[in-house]
Symmetry: C2
């Protein structure tokens, strides 16, 4: 596993960018589902087998981000002294500021495709979930309560994804980071409390017994 430099590494990264660009073109043009991996491979002049080696799955052609891999370390570093929300916020802010115009445009392109396509959005959720699991490992090893770490990180990741979806559904007009910032604020305040619509009952039990019929288990 090589890393940053080396001709091989550069060649691979270049290839991945070319392939992703090609894929985004085709997906935008004809729809994600209507394009097969083989077509992308042909258009990008690579063997299908190679696409699979690079990206693993079809969805990753859209989801993949060059900088994702290197983002874990900074987060991990900050988690030692900061709570999860602040850690994520700082790293995200730094990332967005470091992005070029071209990268930002590419990101929006990808996000639009993601949220226009349930299959890709699903894959993104999974991807984020894997990241969450990673973070849980970091936190709970240096802290007391395991369950609390699980819940906090999962809620955090879920909340951010929710913000991104909302951003996408509402036209993607403002910068994504604004939505994410607002999401983080909501999470800090606590899920129960809404800004408007304030109420005082935080724990009265009853309501219908007639609804006893409506069971649910976990999901």
């Amino acid at each position: 596993m090589y890393e940053g430099s080396g001709l091989r590494a550069r060649k691979k990264r270049d290839a991945m960018h070319r392939i992703q660009d090609t894929a985004l073109d085709l997906f935008e043009e004809r729809g994600y589902d209507a394009v097969t991996i083989e077509e992308v491979a042909n258009a990008a002049a690579f063997a299908p087998r190679t696409l699979y080696r690079y990206f693993g799955t079809k969805e990753m052609l859209v989801i993949w981000d060059e900088h994702d891999e290197s983002a874990m370390e900074p987060i991990r570093r900050r988690l030692v002294s900061l709570d999860p929300i602040d850690a994520i916020r700082q790293v995200l802010h730094a990332s967005f500021e470091a992005m070029t115009e071209r990268e930002l445009a590419q990101l929006e392109r990808r996000l639009k495709l993601i949220y226009a396509n349930p299959a890709i959005e699903a894959a993104l959720t999974l991807h984020a979930d894997a990241l969450a699991r990673h973070l849980v490992g970091v936190i709970s090893s240096s802290q007391d309560d395991d369950l609390e770490a699980h819940v906090q990180v999962n809620a955090l990741v879920g909340g951010i994804l929710g913000a991104m979806r909302h951003w996408s559904l509402s036209g993607a007009s403002t910068p994504v980071m604004v939505s994410i910032d607002r999401a983080l604020a909501v999470l800090e305040r606590g899920v129960g409390r809404s800004s408007a619509h304030l109420r005082a009952n935080t724990g009265n039990p009853p309501a219908s017994t007639s609804a006893g019929k409506g069971k649910d288990h976990v999901r």
Copy 2:
């Protein structure tokens, strides 16, 4: 689309239960990945095509819960007057109390399989996510802030899933509902604040510029 009664409906539900039981047996015995849909179908004496019609996907053979479908209404009803956390908590409590011994055992069986198998866990995440989207629709139509609804519901669902995973990873010894209750408490308190490890900095900016290299975008 029929509902509760009618002989056809009963027959279908019975068949689904039989098929799910068969599937769980096989999956536990030989591992989820090593069992094909066709084998499940044969063992349960149904056509593969029928399994797909009933369950849609292989993962749903494990995830499916008879009562899931009827659970949305009670939640929706409570969301009018309660905040999301209280609504979910009440419905979940009611559901668990209404469960028979046999149903509870089956639930644990399913959960063990789910969390022993990344593919199924992924599908569960997606399933939960779809439910979250539903809830967002209910809330944001009767409330002011769209984004807040997205974030809250997503965080809520994410947090519950986190609790369940933790419960599973830590041996599944206590009742699931206990873990979920604790998760809900964490969410109410706000993601930033941990119970122990209290700190006072909720918004100081800096830290490394050296970490500017570590970018990340969104996912």
